[in-house]
């Protein structure tokens, strides 16, 4: 899940010096799980900045930039339109911004990526897995404590739940109470007595490397 927060025009304006030639590129995103806003958002930001005196050389609306279908050639071909502009104003998430770096231009984000969870741009709904490289599901009735407990406690709950609600967010049910209910249903409460050792955070490192997409690799050239 990727959530974008569109930056205020005045804030963007400070990074786009008056008199410079600006190109604006917007990502279409994926329906239902990211919200760059596409054409409508592009027109709005462009309009607001033009009122402030920004000079646009052109605009481009691109298919979801994190789509692995993009290859280097087609992306660079598209980006030729950027031409002589000094910088690209990117109405994209963080991934899209990095991909646009392939143009060799300065990139100014028009949006802030505020939350990234699971695979970016592939899954259409929340996936309760932290991709941690170890799996604790056998100790927790199939509900991952890393996902359901904000403190990622592995050996049972803290003392912060109130009426079954999590200390960190009262809207949420305590993850360990969910795990308890599940294991009770399965008649496997004795699993809760098994000691879970400390996590191996080094497991996460190779996974991060594997997550790099083709398009992202292009941006590093």
């Amino acid at each position: 899940m990727v959530l974008l927060e569109i930056r205020k025009s005045a804030e963007i304006f400070r990074e786009v010096d008056k008199g410079r030639k600006v190109f604006i590129a917007a990502c279409m995103g994926w329906p239902n799980f990211c919200n760059p806003g596409g054409e409508a958002q592009l027109r709005q930001i462009k309009g607001e900045l033009e009122l402030l005196g920004v000079n646009f050389t052109g605009s481009l609306i691109l298919d979801a930039l994190c789509n692995k279908g993009w290859d280097e050639l087609s992306l660079l071909k598209k980006l030729r339109q950027v031409g002589q502009a000094d910088l690209i104003l990117a109405l994209t998430c963080q991934v899209g911004k990095e991909i646009l770096e392939a143009s060799g231009k300065k990139i100014v984000p028009a949006a802030t990526t505020i939350k990234v969870e699971g695979f970016e741009g592939l899954w259409t709904e929340k996936e309760p897995c932290r991709l941690c490289g170890e799996c604790f599901l056998d100790l927790s009735g199939g509900l991952c404590p890393l996902y359901f407990c904000p403190k990622a406690l592995l050996n049972g709950p803290c003392q912060g739940a109130d009426q079954g609600r999590c200390e960190v967010d009262r809207q949420r049910v305590c993850g360990w109470e969910l795990i308890y209910a599940r294991l009770r249903k399965l008649d496997k409460l004795e699993i809760l007595k098994i000691y879970a050792g400390p996590r191996d955070h080094s497991e996460i490192l190779p996974l991060l490397r594997l997550r790099t997409s083709v398009a992202l690799a292009v941006s590093k050239i």
């Binding site: 904000p150 050996n155 049972g156 079954g164 308890y180 000691y195 879970a196 400390p198």
Partner: protein, 291 residues
Amino acid sequence: MLLKEKLERGKLVVTCEINPPKGVEVAEQIKELDSLKGRVDAVAVTDNKSSVMTMSALIFSYFLKERGFEPILNLSCRDRNRLALQADLLGAAALGIQNILVVTGDYASMGDHPQAKPVFDLDAVQLLKTLQILKQGQDLGNNLIKGKPVFFPGATVSPVPSTEAALELQLIKMEKKAAAGAKFFITQPIFDLRALDNFMKRAVKFKVPVLASILPLKSVSMARFLNKNMPGIFVPEEIINELGNAPDRVKGGIEISAKLMRSLPGICQGIHLIPAGWEKFLPAILEAARI
């Protein structure tokens, strides 16, 4: 007699909790504690309690030790990863601070630095195990350490949580903490003795002494606040009425705590006072409880 010896001999122990200063002045605060000398067996030093930043618990424990108190160093999983926790533990052992109370820690968003990164690299059970490993002359990375530190580990438990599932989970976690080496438990503040008694009947099989926390009530609104906002704390209506009807609010609050304390020895092995700003009334509370 040390806390450890007293607990092992089955004697009643009284401890109290002190928050290190939010600042650099320690002398005055420690001097004020002199009135508790000889009246409490040990002083637990909180570790950024409620996620509110204060002076290092380890350093403040050392100041207390220098002044003749026996400290209980609280160690929270919220602020340090396994390297920092072990580093502090080695330091504590070198300073002769052996009592370590392992706590999970409130989430960072609850305190005065809500922007902070909550760590929770280890949980409380894993941290207790870490103490065991260090005691054997090793660290969590399976490396040898020089010398074998001596610790007397303790942990916390919430005997009156708000749901049945939470109670069962507390008992399971208590068992895990005992198996991981906890030699004493400190509870959440207790106001309902019958609920504590019911809990103790089930917890007695773990054969680890329990110290019940006593939090003096300063006002009716404080009691209502606790009931509304503090998980695991329940002040029965009759206690709230007793405080409301007391002609002198302070005396009423002291008497309620004292009465609870007088009843505790039959239920558990110790009393842990949480003054929460009422440090100056602790001697009066102990006096009233005849302890």
